[in-house]
Symmetry: C2
Subunit: 296 residues, 2 copies
């Protein structure tokens, strides 16, 4: 049996092929779906059509997409069935598909979560998953195991982009450093023995664009982690400040945007919501590439 | 419109009616399902039958049950459809049904999670949900709002029962106290304005039985929080050390056990796995009630 290709290498190849370092998020909140799309469809059918059309619109401009599980779970099993089809559609087009599920629990439970999202052939199979660290290293180990077995990745929430991120993450510990640096070290440890040819690990980190100083500090602590970087667009983070996330090849980071791309029609008019999303994705791609020139 | 009855009052009534302070967990790991039950059924059908038979077996001895989402998500939408039916079956028998999902994300995403699990009529409607706090107070607010609107509850993971709980939760902060005490204060704040007639809040806390000293310390910090207490049984926590969780009425805590009840047949023989689960639930109920006498 050929071992699966390493997640970080698959992602690097997609990034270089498209010369794009972004990740478009699909958060199908019914309150924001384009009215023309929602009209005449029930809510679940509108979510399904929205995600498929969004993939069509942005595939040329992005190597990766992420799906926010909450907006599918709201519809129960019917919504989760749509998530299955969205993940499959994204992977079927060669996009790196991230299940943004922020799971985190005790070890034996995380084994089930890792199987749910990373195992080959699982109904909800994705290329990578997001994980929360509050329960400690037990949480990360099953995802690390599954990532190695199946050629997949996982992104640990180290420093998030939301207003209350500081409540836990920036608590100063007895050694004078913020808690998120300790989580960074946990993440490094979880990925230490599984690094791809490109130099990056299967264990990545969610690091918010809203704190550029943290991005720079965390890059020093986590030289082999791919950063999934939310917080540009709706939350105010600036792509121009994210240089430290990227190496000279333009690898090491993915700038994630959800509402500001998928719902760009709200700012740009809804004559053609998909064209507005495509324009927003292209513009974000270009705004990140200004950080280069990258040697590719 | 009559406002919904407060979650804590509904739970208190169930506790006093059954004179039981436990929560039986359904973690339908296929590796542990009784062979006689699994034989001749596909994996999803075996999970469904297992959960329904478990409810039959333990309903007399427990006021509450919790369902571990990971073991349903492994099967994708087909598994989540079983979770829908298990939640409905539990609530249909008058059991307090907890969706043990450990969700935690930014505010607008948590609104969708809160709708998914707490909204009246949602496909995955439960009486309460578990939440992780790493993303801060933004995470808790939408659950608090939904709890108030729908008469539901939520349990914030404050101090978990797993071996690596210390990694984040016991980090000593600059004020010399463990991080989990800060999370306890966040939880109190999230439930401050929504307390039932019984004196307990809709915002509860997950507090592991594996650290009885933390249970006692946290009870002082969180006098109005219901403690959902995992870690007895398979993880080694002792019911006899959990006195500080309970008030003189025997309210304020639910001792949760999953594998040690549902899979008791592994220790007791599988002649009748459901009878073994019922015996284990009754014994756990009695072991907790030894902490009394409670005035009911």
């Amino acid at each position: 049996v050929t071992p699966p290709r390493h997640f970080a290498d698959r992602l690097a190849e997609a990034v270089l092929a498209k010369n794009s370092r972004i990740c478009v998020g699909c958060d199908p909140d019914p309150a924001y779906l384009p009215p023309a799309l929602a009209a005449g469809r029930d809510a679940v059918a509108a979510v399904e059509r929205f995600g498929l059309d969004l993939l069509d619109a942005v595939a040329k401009f992005t190597p990766a997409v992420k799906f926010q599980s909450a907006f599918y779970e709201r519809f129960g099993a019917a919504g989760v069935a749509v998530l299955e089809r969205h993940l499959a559609a994204a992977r079927g087009r060669g996009l790196i598909a991230i299940a943004d599920v922020k799971r985190g629990d005790v070890g034996h439970t995380c084994r089930a979560y890792a199987d749910a999202y990373l195992a080959a052939g699982a109904p909800l199979e994705a290329d990578a998953v997001t994980v929360t660290p509050y329960l400690g290293a037990d949480t990360l180990a099953p995802f690390a195991d599954a990532a190695a077995k199946y050629g997949k990745g996982f992104f640990v929430v180290v420093r998030s982009s939301n207003p209350s991120a500081a409540d836990c993450q920036e608590v100063v510990t007895a050694d004078g450093r913020p808690l998120y640096e300790r989580v960074a070290r946990m993440t490094v440890a979880a990925g230490a023995d599984n690094v791809g040819e490109c130099g990056y690990a299967a264990a990545g980190a969610v690091v918010g664009a809203t704190s550029p100083a943290a991005v720079a500090a965390l890059r020093k602590l986590m030289p082999r982690q791919i950063f999934l970087i939310p917080g540009v667009g709706a939350q105010g983070g600036e792509p121009a400040l994210l240089g430290p996330a990227f190496d000279e090849r333009g690898l090491g980071g993915l700038v994630a945007a959800s509402r500001s791309v998928a719902f760009a029609w709200r700012e740009r008019g809804d004559g053609d919501w998909a064209a507005a999303a495509a324009d927003a994705a292209r513009e974000l791609r270009d705004a990140v590439n200004v950080l280069g020139p990258f040697g590719c």
